[in-house]
Amino acid sequence: MADQAIPRRGFLKGAGVAGAGAAAALTGGAAQAQTPAPAVTAAAKQVAPNEPLLALTAAEAAFFTAAFDTLIPADKLSPSGSECGLVTFMDRQLAGAWGNGARLYRAGPFMPGKPEQGYQLPLTPREFFAAGIKAANAYARKTFGKDFDRLSPTDREAAMKAMESGQAQFPDFASKMFFEALYASAMEGFFADPIHGGNRDKASWRMIGYPGLPATYARTAEQYRGKKLNIEPQSIADFI
């Protein structure tokens, strides 16, 4: 559907990919109207830049934005996944060693195997996500008439559930497998140290009360025991 890709590039150029602006532009405002106003912290609001892309295509960035905002919607607990920087996180991960198959045994022959035998595809994560996004968009077009990122929030949720359950038909591998990889990446980006590009302003750590670093409790472990702590979370970046 080349005719859809061209205007999307235009949107992206003007709006930036990973920030709140991109989410609004790509969803035509519909998602914004239906979700409650996010309690975006001051720092997260400032970070809505035109993040340069290292690996992702515009269509992939748009997919990740929509997918991460479906999995992690903005609400009073945190900004949305993309507002927290998850597209930047994913872009860096897929551009780097992990994305390109480092620490992955890639010798053949390749056979599907049994579920107990785990990941058996020849694809690197970069290649896997590229193929998965194409398949997810094809499924979305066939079922809902548009690419995933252009669906209404309700249809996005329905498409996501169809992939989660495996009901969505993908040509090369199970849609559930794609969902699980997407889900794992969303959780990694949302909860990892912010130095990796996601979890901006430690939004997820604030949400759950994880203090991050420095975590030296030898003198306070007894004093803190059983008590709710209100510690300002600290990232690796706060110590360099």
């Binding site: 479906t70 999995l71 992690i72 919607p73 609400d75 607990l77 945190s78 992990w98 480092a102 620490r103 992955l104 045994y105 890639r106 010798a107 022959p109 056979m111 195997g113 049994k114 579920p115 107990e116 035998q117 785990g118 990941y119 058996q120 949720e157 996501m160 989660e164 889900y183 969303a186 959780m187 990694e188 909860f191 990892a192 140290d193 130095i195 997820s204 750590w205 949400m207 759950i208 009360g209 994880y210 203090p211 670093l213 420095p214 975590a215 030296t216 409790y217 030898a218 306070t220 472990a221 803190y224 025991r225 059983g226 008590k227 709710k228 702590l229 690796i236 706060d238 110590f239 360099i240």
Partner: protein, 588 residues
């Protein structure tokens, strides 16, 4: 043509706990020792540095300190008739790498096995009858007893500055310790770690149920400590970055801090890193290895290192691989039950109950070692008469860091994503912990290691093929233990509990520990074991094989304490007997 080096007294393959202990003991006895380590140098001062070591994504999720599967991995299948496929990435477990091996990224849990585990076959037959052991199980005695190993356990605990509380001092049961442990010659060198909220809850609930909770022995030092080697160990900071991580406080014992400072100063010791041992030069006629061939990973060059004696201290899989490639010992055949190399591969039968509570747990304040545990349902600490299975495990809350990519839970029925998931995650992150069961893995005729016919490693050798599934016996054990843990969880007044016994197949997303044992097992008979009671090969007089590979079956306690005690035990036999009269220490 391989470059040939000058012969040395001893070559040690792999410098983790076993290799480091062996190197230290043999150099002290006057031998020249060369250690060949596949991996790179690793020093806490360079590699375990704050703040960068505290990166959950890089170090834990992406297995930053672990072996690269592209270099070396395994193939896996559940049963002998299946086609094994490679573990292309570490999902179910991961293997260590570099100097210090798994000893640098372990949790620090430091158990002694229960005395009956070392004589398991004899013990069960005596207690439950000659035909009591289920036909599917291939249980054996070790050839070594708890009493043999006791002084060596004691040495290892003092080397590590282990924190704990004795429960049996020279046969006297001591209140507050583990009443089921074998007699100890001495107290732990350090007091127990500070009890966490979950530890207090376990202790109270277990006592109400008539059980015997105590502080888990931890090589995460509760106070600054200097070990008998003169090496300094720091105080644990309860930072929650133990397993998979290196310790920046130098509080978690490792070969790197407990032995290397003295070992590396000894002129009789030489370490060669990035030296990947490819094969052993074995002469079946003389029953001796002449040395090893390794690849210098800096240049790719093959190097032959002759030696008077070789000690395999690599991971169990590599020890099996080297034995098989050299043709030492008869390969195990599950069809006949004959042969020894690859036999009795065992894992760990773990499960958990998720516990949702009102109390503030603060899971980020913790060590790799749960501060409280019950051992009442371990091994044969309870009567198995009517139960229909053997074995057991310990039950303890796993509160070891609350690192949020991986350690979160929501109550049953919560969606996995979206607004409701976020709300439940925020609500329960600080009010949940897993009550874990760490269980025995008993040897099954069909569970073994051999060479894969198809897949190869980075230097062209066959990958080791793992054939493994949880035996029926172990699944029944897991159900029983998980129910016991659920009873404890309910006694904590939990809001919800989520018991998850180990009832499905072993698989890539279905394991919970990197504890692998067997394959080159010790025993009393060369027909049924590869090593004698001193861990000397029955078939090759100047070859000793250390590590979990030597366990005839795996106990429900973590293996490191026993791996280290066996290394000290074997080193004693080498220095006191073998050096004086090189040859067979036991005649089979």
């Amino acid at each position: 043509m391989a470059k040939v080096m000058k012969s040395v007294d001893v070559v040690i393959v792999g410098l983790g706990w076993s290799g480091s202990i062996m190197a230290r003991e043999l150099t002290k006895a006057g031998l020249n020792v060369v250690a060949l380590e596949r991996g790179a140098e690793r020093t806490p001062a360079e590699d375990f540095v704050f703040p960068y070591i505290r990166d959950e994504l890089k170090v834990r999720v992406r297995n930053g300190l672990m072996l690269d599967t592209a270099t070396e991995t395994l193939t896996m299948r559940n049963a002998p008739g299946d086609t094994a496929l490679p573990m292309r990435r570490w999902d179910v477990f991961s293997l260590g790498d570099n100097v210090g091996g798994a000893g640098s990224h372990w949790n620090g849990i430091t158990w002694r096995f229960t005395p009956s585990e070392f004589v398991l076959r004899s013990h069960l037959r005596e207690r439950y009858g000659r035909d009591a052991i289920p036909a599917e199980l291939q249980l054996q005695d070790w050839g070594v007893t708890y009493d043999d190993l006791e002084p060596h356990y004691d040495r290892f605990e003092k080397l590590c500055g282990t924190s704990g509380k004795a429960g049996n001092l020279k046969g006297r049961i001591v209140e507050g310790g583990n009443p089921f442990e074998g007699p100890r010659s001495d107290e732990y060198p350090n007091k127990p770690l500070i009890m966490s909220q979950a530890g207090l809850m376990l202790t109270k609930a277990a006592r109400e149920l008539g059980l015997h909770p105590f502080p888990t022995p931890a090589s995460n030092s509760s106070a600054p400590y200097t070990n008998p080697e003169g090496c300094a160990i720091g105080q644990c900071q309860y930072c929650g970055h133990c397993e998979y991580f290196g310790c920046e406080a130098n509080a978690k014992a490792s070969p790197n801090i407990c032995l290397h400072p003295v070992l590396f100063r000894d002129p009789k010791f030489e370490l060669r890193t990035l030296s990947y041992v490819k094969s052993l030069n074995y002469d079946a006629q003389s029953r001796r290895v002449r040395g090893v061939v390794y690849i210098d990973r800096r240049t790719g060059e093959e190097v032959e290192q002759p030696a008077e004696m070789v000690v395999l201290c690599a991971y169990p899989f590599n020890n099996v691989l080297l034995m098989r490639l050299a043709g030492i010992g008869k390969p195990y055949d599950p069809a006949t039950g004959e042969g020894v190399i690859g036999k009795n591969y065992c894992y760990q039968t773990n499960s958990a109950v998720g516990v949702f509570v009102d109390e503030e747990i603060n899971p980020f304040i913790g060590t790799g070692v749960s501060p409280a545990v019950v051992d009442d349902f371990q091994g044969d600490n309870f009567d198995h008469g009517p139960l229909g299975f053997f074995g057991g495990g310990y039950i303890s809350p796993t509160v070891s860091g609350g690192r949020p990519i991986q350690v979160r839970a929501t109550p049953p029925g919560t969606p996995r994503w979206g607004a409701a998931w976020k709300e439940a995650t925020a609500q329960w992150y600080n009010h949940w912990f897993p009550l874990s069961i760490h269980g025995t893995s008993y040897a099954h005729r069909n569970n073994y290691l051999d060479l894969d016919p198809t897949y190869r490693d980075a230097i062209g050798r066959p990958l080791v093929r793992m054939t493994f599934n949880y035996p029926e016996n172990d699944r029944k054990m897991s159900v029983f233990l998980t129910n016991k843990a659920n009873d404890i969880a309910k006694a904590m007044n939990a809001r919800f509990t989520t018991p998850a016994p180990r009832t499905s197949n072993f698989g890539a997303a279905n394991g919970q520990a990197s504890h692998h044992t067997g394959g080159v097992i010790m025993g009393t008979d060369p027909k049924t074991s590869a090593l004698n009671r001193y861990l000397q090969s029955w078939d090759c007089d100047n070859l000793f094989v250390m590590g979990g590979a030597a366990f005839p079956q795996n106990a429900g306690h973590n293996p490191t304490g026993t791996i280290a005690a066996l290394a000290y035990w074997s080193a004693k036999a080498i220095t006191e007997q073998y050096i004086k009269a090189p040859g067979r220490l036991v005649h089979g």
